[in-house]
């Protein structure tokens, strides 16, 4: 029981101390990685590269925030990447059929929420395994995307639809302030509303939450719907970025999101973690990917480096937890 929000002051302080240590470590790693990569390649700190880096992790920011909510409840969502492809398919087909960017946006969001609600219903209401349900919707959503797209991409030239994912102000992609806004809104939801407290409560101990009348099954439904909505938003950004709807968009995105959330200190067992950690996790992950590309690191070595970093952080997490319980 280490909920940061719902427990007494002593526990809260202790838990936050652990998270603060994690954030300091992450910030340290971000600084070390940035300095290292900039020494290896002058272009690392160039404004153009920073713009590329931020744009490339915008979608990961969004889906990772949704994944944070889910992991905080002790769940997992393996369907996010497929949902991005499916939502993109629905949005793009609506756009090309009706010519209306607004309808395209709305249907993309609704499509994402639809997959999220399937997850939420089976996991929250029917109490099925989150892993198994989202594994099923992972295949379902990708299959739907392939069928809708007929396995081919669809080009998009609607300037309004492409704006969010494709436009930059100078070197600053428009999508970054938007992601920051979403972060602020979700932070308010998570830390300042009863729903946020229910998210932590459901993850800390679902039975206790139920006894206390917190209705965790309803909370679970809504966190998956929220994650689906963020997948829908991500689909819109992805379409803008590549000027087309793609049946294979978002492939393996869920694994990157889970990695970033774990890097950010959110416990896979639920009840512990914060969005700030996820943001730092995504940033570190993005910097590593960007730096490895810039330095032309061999792809086999890249996998090794990513694996070692993740293993190191998980090990650090375990040691920190043991230190706290000792």
């Amino acid at each position: 029981m280490t909920s940061t929000a719902s427990l007494g002051n002593g526990t809260k302080k202790k838990s936050l101390d652990g998270l603060m240590l994690r954030y300091l470590v992450l910030i340290g790693l971000i600084v070390i990685a940035s300095v290292g990569f900039s020494m290896a390649n002058d272009n690392f700190y160039s404004l153009v590269n920073i713009g590329i880096l931020l744009r490339s992790i915008a979608v990961l920011f969004l889906v990772s925030m949704g994944m944070t909510f889910i992991i905080l409840t002790g769940g997992i969502d393996l369907s996010i990447g497929s949902n991005v492809a499916f939502s993109g398919a629905v949005g793009v087909i609506t756009l090309t059929t009706t010519g209306s960017a607004t309808l395209g946006f709305i249907t993309a969001l609704l499509a994402g929420m639809f997959i999220g609600s399937i997850n939420g219903f089976f996991i929250g209401r029917l109490k099925l395994s989150a892993f198994m349900v989202s594994l099923a919707t992972y295949a379902l959503a990708r299959g739907l995307a392939l069928v809708l797209f007929d396995a081919n991409s669809i080009n998009v030239d609607n300037i309004t639809f492409l704006w969010l994912g494709g436009v930059s102000w100078g070197n600053m992609p428009v999508v970054i302030p938007f992601v920051a806004l979403v972060f602020v809104v979700l932070s308010i939801v998570l830390y300042k509303t009863p729903f946020g407290r229910d998210v932590y409560a459901a993850g800390a101990n679902v039975n206790t939450a139920f006894v206390l009348g917190r209705r965790p099954e309803r909370t679970l439904v809504w966190v998956y719907v929220l994650s689906g909505a963020l997948a829908g938003l991500s689909a819109i950004i992805t379409v803008g970025r590549v000027s087309s709807g793609q049946p294979w968009a978002g492939l393996y995105l869920e694994f990157d999101a889970i990695t970033a959330v774990i890097l950010g200190g959110t416990s896979l067992f639920g009840g512990r973690g914060r969005l700030l950690g996820t943001i730092l996790g995504v940033l570190l992950y993005g910097i590593i990917i960007n730096g490895l590309v810039l330095t032309g690191t061999n792809p086999y070595l890249q996998s090794l480096i990513k694996g070692l970093i993740l293993l190191g952080v998980v090990l650090l997490d375990t040691l920190t937890q043991r230190g706290k319980t000792a």
């Binding site: 590269n49 490339s56 978002g250 492939l251 032309g296």
Partner: protein, 344 residues
């Protein structure tokens, strides 16, 4: 004395350094962005590419040849990011094996504006400076026609393992194979299944087919990556009479032609192709202009005995065929055709 030696050493090192810098005043930086890096073909690709970079750099003192090979690990978004980062690095030549060419159209213009030569690999792009293609439809047709001929007019059932849905190269290979098979009446395609270029998925598909189609005579694939697990399952389950028709020219698969399991293959050879990429970049850098659509020479591989049988059963005489020994040598030694000596 020690100081003098050190000074002399430093002077010598400086002289060599300056000499080297003066000698290599021209640079050729090549970046290859690929969709993955785990398939056996990708491994061979990378090996050929890296060996060729080193060989060209060594062979030509006036050009500093460097190269990087990036893998998007199957993710479109990662590939876009890698491409954007690479454009910002301004290499001379970019080879891009796009997961989906439409998604890369906006980036081609960006790269060209930076003076980078964009070479689309396998899936042609109109906007690219060049497209490096494999003649997939023709190759597939040759594979299908070889199957027709080697089935000798007997009733013959085949399962065809496809690439990832929507992948242009995979679709072209499928089109060719089916076109080749359609040249005879006795070969029946009992199953078609995408294995997404994934050997593990290929294994599952082969297992299912062997159960579902007890009279299956052959498996045809759009990549040799599918052949490894399929051959292993067939061998382990005692189905030694199943024939395999591959595509890629992987050396271990060509080697299995002599024992009669693999009947035909298409000699792309990752190693060979890796060498050809560097040769192509070098030629462009030196001012040559290849065809906008550069068709890589990819012959059909058969054993000499099977070629004879195939010809007796209507296989066209004008289709160029490499026999196993020649194919193995060429597949292993990309420098024979595309090394520095080929452009000197």
């Amino acid at each position: 004395m020690r100081l003098k030696t050190m000074t002399a050493g430093l002077a010598l090192a400086t002289a060599f350094g300056v000499g080297a810098a003066l000698a290599a005043d021209d640079t050729l930086d090549i970046v290859f962005i690929n969709d993955g890096h785990v398939a056996p073909y990708h491994v061979a690709w990378l090996t050929g590419f890296e060996d060729a970079i080193a060989a060209y750099d060594k062979a030509f003192a006036d050009v500093k040849v460097t190269g990087r090979w990036l893998s998007a690990e199957g993710s479109l978004e990662k590939m876009i990011q890698q491409t954007e980062v690479t454009i910002n690095e301004k290499p001379d030549v970019m080879f891009v094996n796009a997961i989906n060419v439409d998604a890369f159209e906006p980036l081609v213009a960006k790269a060209q504006a930076e003076g980078i030569t964009w070479i689309a690999v396998h899936s042609p792009m109109e906007s690219a400076d060049y497209s490096f293609t494999l003649g997939d439809v023709v190759n597939g047709t040759n594979q299908g026609m070889a199957m027709c001929a080697l089935s000798k007019g007997e009733p013959f059932q085949v399962g065809v393992m496809l690439g990832q849905a929507g992948n242009p190269s995979g679709e072209a290979r499928r089109e060719g194979i089916l076109k080749g098979i359609a040249t005879c009446d006795n070969v029946e395609v009992v199953a078609e299944q995408p294995a997404d270029w994934d050997t593990v998925k290929a294994q599952t598909i082969a297992e299912n087919w062997f159960t579902q189609y007890p009279d299956l005579d052959a498996i045809s694939g759009v990549t040799d990556g599918y052949m490894y697990p399929s051959i292993a399952i067939a061998t382990n389950s005692g189905k030694t009479d199943i024939q395999f028709y591959g595509y890629d020219g992987d050396i271990p698969i060509i080697q299995q032609m002599e024992n009669g399991q693999v009947m035909a293959d298409i000699l792309l050879s990752g190693t060979r192709e890796g060498w050809n990429f560097v040769q192509m970049a070098y030629r462009i850098h030196k001012g040559e202009t290849p065809d906008k659509v550069y068709d890589f020479f990819t012959p059909l591989v058969l054993t000499e005995a099977n070629h004879k049988i195939a010809l007796e059963h209507g296989f066209p005489e004008d289709v160029q065929v490499y026999y196993v020994p020649e194919a193995l040598e060429v597949a292993a030694k990309g420098y024979l055709e595309f090394g520095p000596d080929s452009v000197k």
